[in-house]
């Protein structure tokens, strides 16, 4: 029992229970809608956490993959006659393939050089989405058809809450598996020191690539969900600010902690909703909160608080 509680799967179980119980506590569809959004963004962050939190590789371009998923479910059904679910799978596969092809050369770069290269990659995606208006509707974006599964139409906040919630649990479970496997250990070794990992015989390039491709697929699936949920996709979906938002969610919540990623996503989805009461002061408040949290909880909300709790107890 104790071993299970300290292992990676206890968190996944707790998450599953939370997802199952939360709708009972939410008073209206409005809150359910926000919870669905949190689930979608958390899915991206859980994937990104594998790359940033475990492998230690910062990407400023993951909104590009998010956009690939989103535009796949827009373009596939509209122009190619694909069913939406197939377009979703195709989008995730394309994002994974792109990550695989781009990852080899890009992941040779270290630290901030990797950050600027991924940033450039993300911008290229966003520019293609904004400029190829024959396919993407240009800067105004394009409508996204509904998802039909087994003859049922997937729409509305309640349906999407369950889709995103269940996907998040599955995503967290897969991530927990990766982290507990030899791959996870290799990624952590790379995080601590690439050179040392190499000396130990770890194929650094291969493991970094695995994390990169996985995180891209997570982002693409979440992007497809958001597009189908909103019924609309615009180039901002893949923009630079989105990429920054993803990284901020991961860091605020706590790198290297799946729960941290979910808390970070919840915070950045909820804050703008809550802060609207401050109207014009909204951005000032958001910036201040980011700074203060990072100063007082430098390892991120969840790991810092957990550390504090442990320190208190001993």
């Amino acid at each position: 029992m104790r071993r299970f509680l300290e292992g990676p799967y206890a968190g996944v179980l707790a998450l599953a229970i939370l997802v199952a119980v939360l709708p009972l506590a939410l008073p209206s569809l409005f809150y359910l809608r926000i919870a669905a959004l949190i689930g979608i963004f958390a899915l991206v962050v859980v994937g990104l956490n594998l790359l940033i939190g475990y492998a230690g590789q910062v990407s400023l371009g993951h909104a590009g993959f998010f956009g690939v998923g989103a535009y796949a479910v827009a373009i596939g059904p509209t122009y190619l006659g694909l069913p939406a679910w197939l377009a979703l799978i195709a989008g995730a596969a394309i994002a994974g393939l792109i990550a695989f092809l781009v990852g080899r050369p890009i992941l040779r770069l270290r630290g901030h050089y990797l950050a600027v290269a991924t940033l450039g990659m993300g911008l290229l995606f966003a520019m293609v989405f904004a400029n190829e208006s024959a396919w993407t509707g240009g800067p105004d974006g394009m409508p996204v058809p509904h998802l039909d599964l087994f003859g049922f139409r997937m729409s509305g906040a309640r349906t999407w809450y369950w889709i995103s919630g269940v996907s998040l649990v599955i995503g967290a479970w897969v991530a927990a598996n990766v982290i507990a496997s030899p791959t996870g250990r290799a990624l952590r070794a790379i995080h601590d020191s690439e050179t040392a990992a190499q000396v130990l015989g770890i194929d650094v390039a291969r493991y970094k690539l695995i994390a990169f491709v996985l995180s891209a697929v997570y982002a693409a699936v979440a992007g497809a969900y958001l597009a189908m949920f909103d019924g609309l996709v615009t180039p901002e979906t893949a923009g630079f600010l989105r990429s920054i938002e993803f990284v901020t969610m991961a860091v605020l919540g706590g790198l290297g902690s799946t729960f941290g990623g979910i808390v970070g996503a919840a915070l950045l989805v909820l804050l703008p909703q809550v802060l609207t009461v401050f109207q014009d002061y909204e951005h000032i408040a958001l910036g201040l909160i980011m700074i203060v949290v990072m100063i007082f909880l430098p390892a991120g909300i969840v790991p810092s608080l957990a550390g504090l709790l442990r320190w208190r107890r001993s």
């Binding site: 040779r108 050089y113 290269a117 520019m127 909204e282 910036g287 430098p298």
Partner: protein, 290 residues
């Protein structure tokens, strides 16, 4: 030929501004290891404060001076209130702090000023000079001369004055600098002040050409960061070369290829350079201590 010159002029003008932003990144990075994503906001502050104090009836040179002082105060406050308290945090945590600061400053600017675009009258008239069939605005010349003067002044400051040498020493080895009696905290604060001043000057110089608004800093920070990385982060000469290169690439690809893909060409070149030279144009192979 006239067309080529025209593109070169506009590329150099924009590139000079990118170079100044990249220099700001470089200075702070050297002194503290922080990538300051709020660097673009200093440029925005320089432009916006000048516009609004000038509109309130203050003569232009005085308005520019006030903007410069405001930016320096903001830069020092950013260091004192947000960066110094987080000392010892990981680089990515510090980056998120500067991103938070940039959101905060943008919010503050939209509140204190407004959300529309603003311009300043050109400093030396608007009658273009004709060179080889291409039109060169006097303001472009001022931007280039101003940026050149800033670079030379910075070079003089870094290599010929005691405070400047203290910055270089801290950049080279923080611990050793402290051992020889350099107050490294003050040095990092100084680098934030100087970076803010450089950014604000860039903002003041460019506003008559490119307009300014509360959110004009984001794109500049992005381009300046890319330029600094292209020329190897931490290398002042690289920052200048990187900035001019990005500016020229943009102008030529906008002119000869397509204006909607001008940024694409610039970033494709950056990606290409990094694949061939993973440390940037002026980088030396780094060592990692295990």
């Amino acid at each position: 030929m006239a067309e080529f010159l025209q593109f070169a002029f506009s590329g150099l003008t924009v590139g000079a501004i990118y170079a100044l932003v990249a220099l700001g990144f470089t200075l702070i990075y050297n002194a503290s290891g922080v990538i300051n994503f709020a660097q673009g906001e200093f440029v925005m502050l320089g432009g916006m404060v000048t516009v609004f104090t000038h509109a309130a009836g203050v003569p232009l040179p005085l308005a520019a001076l006030i903007a410069l002082v405001v930016a320096i105060i903001v830069g020092l406050a950013l260091y004192r209130l947000a960066i110094e308290p987080a000392r010892g945090a990981s680089p990515v945590t510090l980056i998120i702090i500067t991103i938070g600061a940039s959101i905060l400053l943008r919010g503050g600017a939209s509140l204190t000023f407004d959300k529309s675009f603003h311009s300043l009258p050109p400093f030396a008239g608007s009658k273009p000079l004709m060179i080889g069939g291409a039109a060169l605005l006097p303001q472009s010349l001022i931007v280039l001369a101003g940026a050149g003067a800033i670079v030379i002044a910075l070079w003089y400051f870094l290599t010929r004055t005691l405070s400047g040498k203290a910055i270089l020493a801290t950049a080279a080895n923080r611990l050793a600098a402290r051992l020889v009696g350099i107050n490294t905290n003050a040095v990092v604060g100084l680098s934030f002040g100087v970076s803010a001043a450089i950014g604000a000057l860039g903002g003041i110089l460019m506003t008559p050409i490119t307009l300014t608004s509360y959110d004009s800093g984001t794109l500049l920070a992005l381009k300046g960061f890319a330029a600094a990385m292209l020329g190897s982060m931490g290398n002042p000469l690289g920052a200048v070369v990187g900035g001019l290169t990005v500016g020229l690439l943009e102008a030529f690809s906008a002119g000869y290829i397509s204006s909607s893909y001008k940024d694409a060409v610039a970033f494709l070149v950056i990606l290409g350079v990094l694949f061939l030279m993973p440390q940037g144009l002026f980088g030396r192979g780094g060592m990692e201590r295990v």
